[in-house]
């Protein structure tokens, strides 16, 4: 069959509306990296198994490698560049620096975006499998076990997990995320 024509969509990326003519096969991850030159979001496994590609889609964290960009018409995407840049780091990014929450840094953008989402999820009372009865008011109430469970979608090949947990604990104490 002949190749399909492109599809026009508008996606708001880090606050800026982007009009894109897309091959329907393009993933959101490739569209961000190759189409919009936003290279912060990383490609690890390209199959949903590592979390390096985590972005916020309408405020919820998702694996951008498994999202077809055409499906995002009218939606809002936040990448790590939209969370904080070197001249205005997000408090969670500061905490990662302070607590050595990384070694090679490849997984870090995904960890940061995922961690920012975790703070909002906890503030809105979302349960985890550790205890479905628990409706936290904020991430500050979460145990280390809870933090590990809620961050399990982000693999770190360097094993920087203790630093990542410490950074999240600190951020959880200092940040009051807007209620989702």
């Amino acid at each position: 069959m002949s190749p399909p024509s492109t599809v026009s969509v508008t996606i708001t990326v880090n606050g800026e509306a982007q009009r894109l003519d897309l091959d329907p096969r393009a993933s959101l991850l490739d569209t961000l990296r190759l189409g919009l030159d936003l290279n912060g979001t990383k490609k690890g496994c390209n199959q949903g198994a590592c979390g390096a590609c985590t972005v916020l889609l309408d405020g919820e964290r998702v694996n951008a490698c498994l999202v077809l960009a055409v499906t995002c018409d009218g939606q809002k995407v936040t990448t790590v560049e939209g969370i904080g840049m070197p001249d205005n780091l997000h408090p969670l990014q500061d905490a990662f620096v302070e607590h050595d929450g990384f070694q090679c840094g490849y997984c870090t953008p995904g960890q940061i975006v995922s961690g920012v989402a975790l703070l909002a999820e906890a503030a809105s009372g979302q349960p985890s499998v550790v205890d479905v009865d628990l409706s936290p008011d904020s991430a500050a109430q979460l145990s280390d076990e809870e933090i590990s469970e809620r961050m399990s979608g982000n693999i770190c090949r360097c094993g920087a997990y203790p630093g990542i947990r410490a950074a999240l604990r600190q951020a959880a104490q200092t940040i009051q995320p807007a209620r989702a």
């Binding site: 399909p4 599809v7 329907p24 390209n46 949903g48 979390g51 055409v70 499998v129 399990s152």
Partner: protein, 338 residues
């Protein structure tokens, strides 16, 4: 990925028309399974019909006090729903035990039911596989089969269904609501998925031109409120089940098992509802011995293929652990901590 055309209908009628008019069309839910399989060349739809804009995203109460979960409800929203947590606890636990937060945010209820097996050979088109290419053979039987089935498998295929959520839905006697060119129909959850038999490519009773619109849960009971999901896996989170068990118990005034529900994941081509073991337990003592015997009965005819032999002793142990937890919850609820 092979090329496809993309459609995003706003009504179920339009979606059905697209499926009817375009052979080779597939529905796209959250895409967490389908996009991966398309990239690997396992699925090659000519047309994708995105269900995202269909009005199927709500959880509502049914007239009899049960819950109707729209096919588009995300795994996250399902697991966090107050009534699901309170009244159908095993379903909240099972759903939260699956995948990661990122995937659960995106994954839909309908897509979770229709997700394909994680069999290594199925997902690699370079290998033969009766499920992907009927008649080509099953390399898993003599190959790597650590994650494969011990119950209900066939000569043609020994794959497992990977869902956690579906194990709880089977135990809870949920009902799948389907719509198609011929109208609406409902299918009891335990009958929705099929055993492989000679046609492992046919995995459910859903026809290619039909759509899942919802899954309904019957009214809650003490059993469903006190139910539990136990999942055994290679790492503590973000891994598929090797063996999992959804269990719920209701105790009679005499402390005997008045009613029980039991289903297993990771052991078969479908969520394995253990009807016979339920019958064995009903009316008998709620004891560890009875729980172990029920678990043993489930694997009495189980077959191992080498790497997955460990599941045969693991399954009854997991059954006993799950029933023990369900018992503790039932006792706590009745204030009887004997």
């Amino acid at each position: 990925m092979t090329p496809f055309t993309y459609h995003k209908p706003a009504s179920v009628a339009d979606a059905l028309a697209l499926l009817a008019d375009r052979p080779g069309a597939m529905l796209l839910g959250g895409g967490t399974n389908l996009v991966d399989l398309m990239r690997k060349g396992v699925e090659t739809p000519d047309h994708l019909v995105d269900v995202q804009d269909l009005p199927l995203g709500e959880i509502s109460e049914t007239d009899d006090g049960g819950l109707r979960i729209g096919a588009l409800v995300s795994n996250t929203a399902l697991a966090a729903h107050d009534r699901v947590r309170r009244d159908y606890r095993m379903l909240s636990e099972a759903t939260l035990a699956g995948a990661s937060q990122q995937l659960r945010n995106r994954a839909t209820t309908g897509g979770n039911l229709l997700q394909r097996t994680r069999c290594y050979y199925f997902t690699e088109p370079g290998y033969p596989c009766n499920k992907r290419e009927p008649g080509s053979g099953c390399p898993a039987k003599d190959g790597f089969n650590r994650i494969h089935a011990i119950l209900g498998e066939s000569d043609a295929c020994i794959a497992t269904h990977p869902s956690d959520m579906c194990v709880a839905m089977s135990a809870l006697d949920a009902v799948v609501e389907i719509t198609g060119p011929g109208g609406d129909r409902t299918v009891p959850f335990p009958d929705f998925h099929l055993l492989p038999g000679d046609t492992p490519n046919v995995e459910t009773v859903l026809e290619p031109d039909e759509i899942i619109t919802a899954v309904t849960l019957p009214p809650p009971s003490d059993l469903s409120r006190q139910s539990v999901y136990v999942k055994v896996r290679d790492r503590q989170s973000y891994a598929f089940a090797l063996v999992s068990v959804a269990a719920g118990l209701a105790l009679g005034a005499d402390g005997q098992v008045e009613d029980v529900r039991l289903a297993l994941g990771g052991v078969a081509h479908k969520p394995w509802r253990a009807f016979d073991a339920e019958s064995l337990l009903r009316g008998g003592p709620a004891s560890d011995d009875a729980f172990r015997q029920a678990g043993q009965a489930i694997v009495a005819d189980a077959t191992g293929y080498g790497h997955n032999d460990f599941k045969i002793p693991l399954a009854p142990r997991t059954v006993a652990v799950a029933l023990g937890k369900a018992l503790a919850r039932a006792q706590r609820a009745s204030g009887d901590a004997r």
